[in-house]
Symmetry: C2
């Protein structure tokens, strides 16, 4: 009957982010093979008023980092949004995964009933109970930006499938 | 310190699916206002080899319905994949939400350590522990197809934003 806030957060973020890094590996190889300017894919968007691939990766990593940090009751490290290449985006993902692994699972587990306050846009603040914040804000938003990044790469013609999105999940196949 | 499998599944599916229904409302109004053939949006894809909007909605509802049913240890109702209009897709979402609300939370909570077996493609089977199945298969896949449906609608020019994607989450804003 075990299920916990720490289990539903950090391992899902780590697997999802490592999967995103694998998607970016394939995007990088695709651009190199087709001699596409390395700046093109990071700047691609699904619609003119949607985020670029670069911004999708920045936001996905920030949701994991800031979401988990707020639940654990700590201050996340600040990453400047300066990435311009896929290699730099992968480095940001790696830094995020390293940080996530330092968080205290017990502190995250203790946050279910605690009120979490977080910025919403430039001037507003959001307030949610810890369990709702994970369940109805951080996880949906995290997967939203992970999927958007995947869809941009897929839209560019890179040969990726659902397994690349899911990553190294604990699955046995028969 | 409360957090449970039932809490991390059914309410997230219900809020996400109701949000998707709201996105489809806006898509329907957009098509009507622009006198777009009602068959166009349901058949739109982000890439020729990605699912259409219709299929994204069918798969998102099936993930919620079958995922939650397997965790609860029951058999989900079968919905034929016959929808051709947005109105029919919204009816499928409503049927799914109604079904989800019938599931026994205690049965879902008891499934964390139980092995879940599920079809993977036409011939294979996947095996995962209940908690991993929810955490690393059902939730990422559910949000993947919800986001893909949202992105198709957004790509068509419908004026929707992140709040339409998140839906009626328990959030207080100051």
């Amino acid at each position: 009957m075990s299920f916990s806030m720490s289990q539903a957060s950090v391992p899902a973020f780590v697997i999802g982010l490592n999967a995103l890094s694998g998607v970016l590996d394939k995007a990088e190889a695709f651009a190199a093979a087709k001699k596409i300017d390395p700046a093109v894919l990071p700047n691609t968007r699904l619609a003119p008023d949607m985020f670029s691939l670069t911004r999708q990766v920045q936001v996905a990593t920030d949701l994991a980092k800031k979401g988990a940090a707020r639940l654990a009751g700590g201050e996340p490290p600040v990453f400047e949004d300066t990435e311009t290449t896929i290699e730099q985006l992968k480095a940001r993902i790696a830094k995020t995964v390293t940080y996530l692994k330092t968080l205290d699972a017990k502190a995250i587990d203790a946050s279910a009933e605690r009120e979490i306050t977080f910025p919403l846009g430039p001037t507003n603040k959001g307030h949610m109970k810890g369990d709702d914040y994970l369940n109805h804000f951080v996880l949906p938003n995290f997967y939203f930006h992970l999927t958007a990044a995947y869809a941009i790469v897929r839209h560019c013609g890179v040969d990726i499938g659902k397994r690349d999105f899911l990553g190294a999940i604990p699955l046995t196949m028969t």
